[in-house]
Symmetry: C2
Subunit: 116 residues, 2 copies
DNA sequence: ATCATACATTGACATTCATCAATTTGAGCA
DNA sequence: TGCTCAAATTGATGAATGTCAATGTATGAT
């Protein structure tokens, strides 16, 4: 039996607040750069990645990537943990369920780039 | 066994084009009004609804609702069929799979309002 | 033909957004 | 204490977005 993504589950008699929150998650995923970041995090070794590894993937500025990561954190899709000088971003349970729903299942891990 | 939403399935070694297309669908769903429209269509009798029934639900202008519906059509989430003076919008297969993934399954049908 | 209805389209406007360059913060190391 | 590196933040700017009022279009009825 399929394990439903409970964290994003809504009923069709959903409250306006639920619709707003779900729309906010969709909105966060609705930018190609951010969706790419999420997928790259999921594909990274240990299912976490730091900004210096994610930045070159995007072709954007470091500041811009930090900006997008913050949006994903605020949407509840990524979580940040700082170790030493590095910030590691990993998927939240909500994000994992969404990726699973989209058949973006657990990948063959991408080897980390170690750019930093 | 769960029936995976093939229409939105991507692999983690996805092409940039796939990411862009998926992000476009998320973006279309990333507006509270549009997500509300999609859910209202899904909950309507016969899984289709016309603009005059959807408009009062939103509290917005008819023109604005038409605008949002067009965006959803262009994203491949709704399809339009005109019968007489009315335009009926219904979910595409892609939209159905997404709603199913989010556990927004088939509803107890909402009775149509017949505002027009 | 005329008129009313349902919907689409246009133009305008304020707001939000994505991006960059530059600066700041903060942690480890010499 | 300085110095370096990773990341966050700020300010600015051009583009995109959501909304409305007004107009256009097409269909059916009188």
């Amino acid at each position: 039996m399929y394990d439903w993504p409970m964290s994003v589950a809504v009923s069709l008699t959903k409250s306006p607040a639920e619709v707003t929150s779900l729309a906010a998650q969709f909105k966060a995923l609705g930018d190609p750069t951010r969706l790419d970041l999420i997928i790259n995090v999921a594909a990274s070794t240990g299912a976490e990645a730091c900004v210096c590894d994610l930045t070159p993937e995007t072709g954007l500025t470091q500041g811009t990537v930090s900006h997008h990561l913050r949006i994903l954190v605020e949407a509840g899709l990524l979580e940040r943990s700082q170790r030493g000088k590095w910030s590691y971003y990993s998927l939240t349970a909500v994000a994992k369920e969404i990726l699973k729903s989209l058949n973006i299942s657990q990948p063959a891990r991408k080897s980390s780039k170690a750019n930093c």
